[in-house]
Symmetry: C2
């Protein structure tokens, strides 16, 4: 069901209760825990939603406690990109891998780091903000305060921004136009593959992961685009670390976050 | 004892045997395992030294097996930066921390990632090459093939290279001259602090670690220099992740690698 955030926090939470109650009633099994994926930043250890830009009246909401009190079940709250990453790691493109990094290329770039089957969340639960790892310390200023964040180059928003001079198009339109031979679109797509390749090479050199999963609209841009990203990454990554790494599209689509939230609850 | 690599691999290994035998004889305790720190790249899982640039006649040397056969004890072989990182994490600047990242600023930049008391070594043992994480995708070409690696900006070699126009100086001389008010040296040191701040901010955004330890000659450059690095990192890192992170000098000096190699053997 849609969030309908404009109705305010209380109504959103009330609708969330209805959704959970409905899911429990319809499940036909005994429910042992509840997993919730939620936009960050949030304190996943305490289950407190801090200040998501897209939920303006949510400020330090103790969502874990609120849902635990209502349903008398253990609750895990995790940021949505981490849930998607855990879902792909357990049941999607990263299954059977010992380590996986996910990048979700949407309005921004979300990401998750899964090491030995567990999310790496850092000291405060804020780790894996790979969209705000800079690929150019003197690059354009990002909303986060940093400069040259990969989000400024390879998110759907960034791709659309670069195409704007030649008329408004969505990122998906741009990928399609590039496929059909539109030169401006093709140049933008090629540039984006190089930016992503540079970011992926950094991830490979830093973490030497088994699988890097790319999700979001561009994941549908097809094998040709992935080949370009792999080529750019190979040119930049250390030979030993690049060897054997898989750079692949996500497999679970919109279900990744739901499946990952369930795993997060189970693992907690 | 010095390596004396010019005498060739066999003599180096024979002297290594002597050193181990001497250490065992002099220890007065029963030795249960041997830990070896060694320049990379190496396959730390199998204990094979692959092709260290500084040991030109070492090619795929199964050092773990060689030492195990000689001493009939379990042997762990790990790259020297990882050993130093593990040493600092267990007994030095990172003790009591749940996660620590080490950067050693020397001829190159070595690094280690320690998560929950364990080295993160990646799928093939090549992880944590943070010296080859790029801070400028269009930056100067690095020996590794990548462009704009932080090693090109903040290693001792890079600091010395930037000072060359105004006469040859070692990195330590440059730090000292900057302290004494030499303007060119001060500019170079300030620039380097910004480069390091950018690299540190990337590490913070990616991993949200509890402690970042800086080792090598520059670690002696003093609190003023660390304050500049912290300031540059704070300007770039995400607020939530920067909060509570400690950016501190290494504590164990040259012993870090020895202590870490012992821990590596114990943990194996």
């Amino acid at each position: 069901m849609p969030t309908l955030k404009e109705q305010g926090r209380k109504k959103v939470i009330s609708r969330l209760f209805d959704a959970i109650a409905g899911a429990i009633a319809g499940s036909g099994v005994r429910i042992k825990a509840i997993g919730v994926g939620c936009p960050g930043p949030l304190d996943s250890k305490k289950g407190i939603v801090l200040s998501p830009p897209n939920l303006p009246d949510w400020r330090r909401v103790p969502l874990k406690k609120i849902i635990e009190k209502k349903f008398r079940l253990p609750v895990a709250v995790e940021n949505d990109a981490n849930c998607a990453g855990l879902g792909e790691a357990m049941n999607g493109a990263g299954r059977k891998a010992s380590s996986m990094v996910l990048l979700t290329l949407g309005t921004g770039i979300g990401s998750a780091i899964v090491l030995n089957g567990k999310l790496w969340t850092g000291k405060g639960g804020f780790a894996s903000e790979l969209g705000h790892v800079s690929i150019d310390l003197n690059g354009p200023k990002c909303g986060c305060g940093n400069k040259g964040c990969i989000e400024m180059y390879a998110s759907a928003t960034a791709v659309e921004r670069r195409r704007k001079a030649a008329g408004k198009m969505t990122a998906e339109d741009i990928y399609k136009a590039a496929e059909k031979g539109d030169k401006v679109s093709r140049r933008i797509v090629d540039e984006t593959a190089v930016y992503l390749g540079a970011a992926v090479a950094n991830i490979i050199n830093a973490l030497d992961p088994e699988v890097i999963v790319l999700a979001g609209g561009m994941a549908k841009a097809g094998e040709k685009y992935f080949a370009k990203i792999r080529k750019a990454a190979k040119e930049r990554a250390l030979k030993e670390s690049f060897k054997g790494v898989r750079i692949v599209p996500a497999e679970l689509g919109e279900d990744a976050g739901i499946i990952g939230a369930a795993w997060r609850a189970k693992k907690q």
